[in-house]
Amino acid sequence: MPTALLMGLASCDRCGLVSRVPRPSRTGRTGNALCPRCRSQLQFRKSDSLQRTSAFLMAAALLFVPANLLPVMTTRTLLKEQRDTIVSGVISLWHAGSWPLAVLVFAASVVVPVLKISALAVLVISTARQSRWHPRARTRLYRWVDRVGRWSMLDVFVMALLAALVRSRMASVEIHAGAIAFGLVVVMTMLASQSFDPRLMWDQHAPPSPRGPS
């Protein structure tokens, strides 16, 4: 089952029309071909997909360290002042008895980013090595990563709401730099999954067609 690329066809990423690209180059670029229906530029694949995805992933992985080590929030009441990282915040939720909330925040703020970064790393490495391992499973993994990743923003919104609500002489909430690192981790992972082109995984899987572009 050849891909559209091997058949010399490009799918317009805006209007969906499939067109034949005249004289596609050896590097697989379309050379300024335009979609006949909506006149936008046609691309076989997202440009520099693996490079951009790797760059965003590395940034996310690096930022993940300060995001979890630095404190994100200080809660001041008349009785005490408590400085929390993401994980210690989860632990105090758990001890306070709200274990469903603790699980939810832990899942969104720690588990999902870790899984997302690992999954994208697996996808990038397997694609770069031109692996033919289970493309359908990898495509499903990519779809999951793409859908779920935005939910890691949960803690950012929680912190913003707490900062806005808890403002009085008796109690206050202060947000720290760890929160910025965390927000950036989420942004980087979202950009990473938006840059990745899953069709690259299928390029290794499709047998060359006699009607190929060259």
């Binding site: 067109s19 034949r20 005249p22 071909a33 359908r136 779809r143 919104f157 709401l161 947000i175 942004v187």
Partner: protein, 232 residues
């Protein structure tokens, strides 16, 4: 697939966005609402693109109605508070913009910008793009720069995070409810409605159908895909 029947049956010729497999309607897997790729299961097209012109028009009108309804609700959601807190010595009402401002006051401007974009600016832009394309389609056909606007709409989709904000409210509510007295504000049902209306609009009409089904152009386009143009 018999190409000579193409024009009358209204077939769709697509390359899967996830695995690049080329397929026609006959190849793809169909259920009530959508067609999925036969090879990898990705969503190819909502059924809004198939069916006669009458069905497409009805779906478009429905999507347009949902989006136009969402716009005033979205504005209301910014004006009315999401939650109100009656503390021992204070009553604080927080709107979405209020949360942004609170972060700004703590000199966390990067986070304030992030929240502002993902809960106010980008969802507004996303709604505006959808309304722009559908309004033109209802009145005059393809909007100017429609391809660019559609691309913007597609890119913005994951960045419009009102649903995550609502969950964040749940968590904040859970964290504070034991100590403080929290009351949902009028902005909350407005925001929930915006979310629902946006989902309904998306599932009613696939915006790529703006240009019509490819088989509405000459039936040759199925047997011989149209040639891409060059700019010179």
């Amino acid at each position: 697939m018999d190409p000579s029947r193409a024009g009358s049956v209204g077939l769709v010729f697509r390359a899967c966005g996830d695995c690049d497999a080329v397929q026609t309607v006959g190849d793809a897997r169909a259920n009530e609402a959508e067609l999925t790729c036969f090879r990898c299961g990705a969503l190819l097209v909502l059924h809004g693109e198939l069916g006669g012109d009458g069905a497409v028009t009805r779906r478009r009108d429905r999507a347009l109605a949902f989006i136009l309804a969402a716009i005033p609700l979205f504005i209301a959601a910014q004006l009315f508070p999401l939650m109100r807190m009656d503390g021992h010595d204070s009553r604080i009402a927080v709107t979405v913009l209020g949360a942004v401002q609170a972060l700004h006051q703590q000199r966390m401007d990067a986070l304030a910008a992030l929240v502002l974009f993902t809960t106010v600016l980008l969802p507004a832009l996303h709604l505006a793009c959808g309304a722009y394309l559908l309004l033109f389609h209802a009145r005059r056909g393809i909007a100017p720069r429609a391809a660019t606007v559609l691309r913007l709409w597609t890119v913005l989709r994951p960045w419009s995070q009102i649903d995550v904000l609502l969950f964040g409210m749940l968590v904040a509510f859970g964290k504070l409810a034991t100590v403080f007295h929290l009351v949902p504000g009028a902005g909350l049902p407005c925001l929930v409605s915006v979310l629902l209306l946006d989902r309904l609009a998306n599932s009613s009409f696939d915006l790529r159908s703006l240009w019509g089904s490819p088989a509405a152009s000459p039936s040759d386009s199925l047997r011989f895909p149209s040639e891409a143009r060059t700019p010179w």
